[in-house]
Point group: C2
Chain length 307, copies 2
């Protein structure tokens, strides 16, 4: 593939930033990959891993002459970063990000975008529960969706270029309104994380069941929640602080439904339970059919002796 | 290994029953494995799979002369089955089960147990989201815990024999009071399933987000819940109907904690969120350290191109 961008600047080299670098190398879509971290120790780890052509402790120098600049730190840090890099952005460059919320990113970053720079927020819906530069790998985005939320009036050529870029990284691309993105992600990602964090906290606080017992007997379902609840705390704090409205909306519905389920258990309404449990099975099948998860039982964990 | 039992009768040949048969064959712990299902079609599938030495559409004939009889159907069917087999149980035999609740099993089955038969309820904490005779495999119990809940006064020799049996199938064995078992499992298994079923139902009912979108963007966390919510509906209906008290207790605490979290989001209390998200990470590490889950990111799904 010919390079889509001369120079790409990754502000943040954690799981997502480093995976983008690996995937860019694999597809040869950039002639120069520049990486930034505010922490010297992270830069040193990135240097040893070798996925960037240049590494910077200063965001402004990282973005200089870049054709694509990607914010890849927790979204709570975007406003400060945007203020730091704004004067150094090249005219005609694309400014994008990888944050899990989009309305707040437009609110926080929008005011700093200089005339002549194309601001196109993005969200690759891919990840693992691990963090840091060592966690990245080139295949992370393969077959996953990357949602772009261009503000009204976005330059069509710049949008096409960013689409090609994500496709080259392995993603499928969708364009969506930022507000709708935030609602879709509130149910498919933010609420699942919230209740996973919550149940792990509840289990940790129980006094009638010891923590040792919770761990020992976690294979009955609990362990799957702990994996989700092991995700990066800073990133997730920022998600909930910046998608409050949509998260509270879906959380309200979740709690309402849970109360109905609680009542069905209390009153022994077996039909209500059975009907819900049957309905949810069909959704699982659709997800596997859509290629968004493996059909292997237990994610293929069950058949390995040495887990 | 020399056989621990001459004849073992499995009442139910679904995921757990068929996995027990495979594991028994692997360890050669039984000279004869008899299987029962009330459905001719299930018997035919089991016959084709060949994991049993004899198959029966009649429970009484299945248990005749058996040294170990294991109830492996949904717990709601135990009382009826126990009534059917009671007159045919051999003196000195062990009657056990694999149900996910234990107090209700003692309540339902206990009254039918004839003089001279050793009734020792058991619960292997292992499974996948798949069901039916085809879903079974010999390694299901390897490294997992099997909890035995012998009523007071249980014959020590019979208990030892059942322990050896489960160890031969690959399990580690723990002895526990039935009530405590039900509380431990309420938090480590029943509540996780309940909230997974619930969130999948909530997502299905949303009108502002389409089902297609929920499926398409499920990789952000939601898909993991759908796997759990794909478990057998009959089995899980019976679990909730038969562990009501303990489930309502942990559900009450979960809801209380969720309200506190909701309040933290509404009021933008980032420290409260960050502290919980950090605490839950430590529990994940303990589970991996205890060998109850793999440390591979995303259960190893991420690195496969073809998922």
């Amino acid at each position: 593939m010919t390079a889509i961008f001369e120079k790409v600047a990754l502000l943040g080299v954690g799981l997502i930033g480093s995976s983008m670098a690996h995937a860019m190398r694999r597809a040869a879509v950039a002639s120069h990959i520049a990486g930034y971290s505010r922490r010297a120790e992270t830069l040193e780890r990135a240097r040893r891993l070798g996925f960037a052509d240049s590494l910077h402790g200063d965001a402004a120098s990282c973005v200089r002459d870049a054709d694509l600049v990607v914010l890849a730190t927790p979204v709570g840090s975007y406003a400060t970063l945007a203020g730091q890099i704004a004067p150094s952005l090249k005219r005609g460059a694309i400014l994008s990000d990888v944050g899990s919320v989009k309305s707040a990113v437009i609110r926080d970053v929008g005011p700093y975008v200089p005339e002549g720079v194309h601001f196109i927020p993005a969200h690759p819906i891919a990840g693992t529960e691990q963090s840091g530069p060592e966690a990245g790998f080139a295949e992370l985005f393969d077959g996953r969706w990357c949602v772009l939320t261009p503000p009204p009036g976005t330059d069509a050529a710049a949008l096409e270029r960013l689409k090609s870029f994500w496709r080259a990284l392995g993603s499928e691309v969708e364009v969506m309104d930022a507000r709708h993105h935030d609602l879709v992600l509130a149910i498919t990602s933010h609420l699942p994380h919230l209740i996973a964090y919550n149940i792990v906290g509840t289990a940790d606080d129980l006094q009638t069941v010891t923590q040792g017992e919770v761990i020992k007997y976690s294979a009955g379902g609990f362990r799957d929640f702990t994996r989700i609840a092991a995700s990066d705390p800073t990133m997730w704090r920022d998600v909930f602080l910046n998608n409050r409205e949509a998260v509270l909306e879906v959380l309200g519905r979740f709690s309402e439904d849970l109360s109905a389920l609680q009542r069905a258990i209390r009153w022994g309404d077996g039909d209500a339970l059975f009907n819900l449990f049957t309905r949810t099975r069909a959704i699982r099948r659709s997800i596997v059919d859509a290629g968004q998860d493996t059909a292997a039982p237990n994610f293929g964990r069950g058949k390995q002796k040495d887990q």
